[in-house]
C-alpha cells in the first residue's frame, strides 16, 4: 500500500518561489498562466497489515505533525492499494 501526501502553502501565504518559477516560465513564452504555487509531495510505502482506513488515519497524523506546518501549509492524503 502506498500513501501519497501533497503539502501546499495556504492561499493566504505568499509563495516567492512559485512567483519566481512563474516568471521564468513566462520568459519561455507561456503567457496563459495566472499563478504558480510550489508544494511538496511525499510517497510513503506502507509495509504493515493495516486497512486502507487505518493507513489514511495514520498518514493524516504524520502529515499534520511532521510533513506540514499547519500554520502555513495545508495537506491532502491519498491512499493507493
Amino acid at each position: 500500500m502506498k500513501a501519497k501526501v501533497y503539502v501546499t502553502l495556504k492561499p493566504s501565504v505568499l509563495d516567492p518561489q512559485g512567483k519566481a518559477i512563474k516568471h521564468s516560465i513566462e520568459l519561455l513564452g507561456y503567457n496563459g498562466i495566472s499563478d504558480i504555487r510550489q508544494g511538496k509531495y511525499f510517497e510513503i510505502a506502507i509495509a504493515g497489515q493495516q486497512t486502507a482506513e487505518q493507513a489514511r488515519e495514520e498518514t493524516m497524523r504524520m502529515a499534520h505533525d511532521v510533513l506540514s506546518n499547519p500554520i502555513i501549509e495545508d495537506f491532502r492524503v491519498e491512499i493507493e492499494e
Binding site: 501565504v13 516567492p16 511532521v66 506546518n69 500554520i71
Partner: protein, 232 residues
C-alpha cells in the same frame, strides 16, 4: 549562573554563542548535545544558528523532534530563559514555543549582511538593559527569515508588546526598504506570552566585538545575565 548551548547536527553558531557566554558574559557554559535531555543544571538555554538537519523538510522542522526539545519545552514551561537565534528562532516556531513561522525570504536570496533593528520592547529578560527605540547593528545570515503569521496573531503580538525587534533603517525607521526578507510588520524578533522565550533572526552573538563590525549584541547577553543575577 550556568548556560547551555544546544547542538544539533548542522548547528554552526554554537561555538559563537559559547564564546560570547564564556568570554563576554564570563559565566560557565556547556554544549548540550541534542540527544541529551537533562537540563536541570542550567539557568538559561541558547538554541543557536545553523542548519539543523540540513534544513530538510522546513527550516527547524526536524530539530523539533530531537530528544532535547521535549526538555526545552519543560524548561521553558517552568519559566526558565530560552533564547533562539536564527535557526534557533525557526526551531522555536516549529516547536510551537513561539507563534508564526519563518518562510523563504521575499527575494529568494540567502542574505548575509549587517542590518539594523530597532528595539521595540525592553520588557523582556533579554532586552531590559537596551534603550527602547534604540538601533542595533547585527548580522543576518538566512534564506528563511520571512516571518509570517495570521492577523489574529499579529494583533496579539502588538497588543501584548511581544514584538521585540523590527528591521529598520539607520535612522530607526521601520520602512519597507529596510525590511530585508519580507517579514510581516518588519518583525525581526518576538517573545512568548510569558516573555521567557525569545527568538530573533539577527545574530547578537556575532555582534559582540568591534573587530567583527559591531558590538551591539553584547547588551542582549548583558540583559540576560542581569536577569539571572537578579533572580539568583
Amino acid at each position: 549562573m550556568k548556560f547551555g548551548v544546544i547542538v544539533f547536527p548542522g548547528s554552526n553558531c554554537d561555538h559563537d554563542a559559547y564564546h560570547v557566554i564564556s568570554k563576554h558574559v564570563g559565566q560557565p557554559v556547556d554544549f548540550i548535545w541534542h540527544r541529551d535531555t537533562d537540563l536541570r543544571s542550567y539557568d538559561a538555554v541558547i538554541i543557536p544558528g545553523g542548519f539543523s538537519y540540513g534544513d530538510y523538510l522546513r527550516a527547524g522542522a526536524l530539530a523539533r523532534f530531537s530528544p532535547v526539545m521535549n526538555s526545552v519545552k519543560e524548561f521553558a514551561a517552568k519559566g526558565n530563559l530560552v533564547l533562539g537565534i536564527c535557526n534557533g528562532f525557526q526551531i522555536l516556531c516549529e516547536a510551537g514555543l513561539l507563534p508564526g513561522a519563518l518562510i523563504r525570504n521575499r527575494d529568494l536570496h540567502f542574505i548575509c549582511d549587517h542590518i539594523d533593528v530597532r528595539v521595540e520592547s525592553t520588557n523582556t529578560p533579554f532586552t531590559h538593559e537596551l534603550k527602547a527605540g534604540g538601533v542595533l547593528r547585527m548580522p543576518i545570515a538566512h534564506a528563511d527569515g520571512n516571518f509570517v503569521c495570521d492577523e489574529g496573531t499579529l494583533d496579539e503580538l502588538r497588543r501584548e508588546d511581544r514584538i521585540v525587534f523590527r528591521y529598520c533603517d539607520r535612522d530607526g525607521q521601520a520602512t519597507e526598504a529596510a525590511n530585508p526578507n519580507g517579514s510581516r510588520d518588519n518583525i525581526a524578533g518576538i517573545c512568548n506570552r510569558e516573555r521567557n522565550v525569545m527568538g530573533l533572526m539577527p545574530h547578537p552573538e556575532r555582534a559582540c566585538e568591534d573587530l567583527l563590525g559591531s558590538s551591539d549584541g553584547r547588551d542582549v547577553f548583558r540583559s540576560l545575565a542581569g536577569t539571572l543575577a537578579t533572580a539568583a
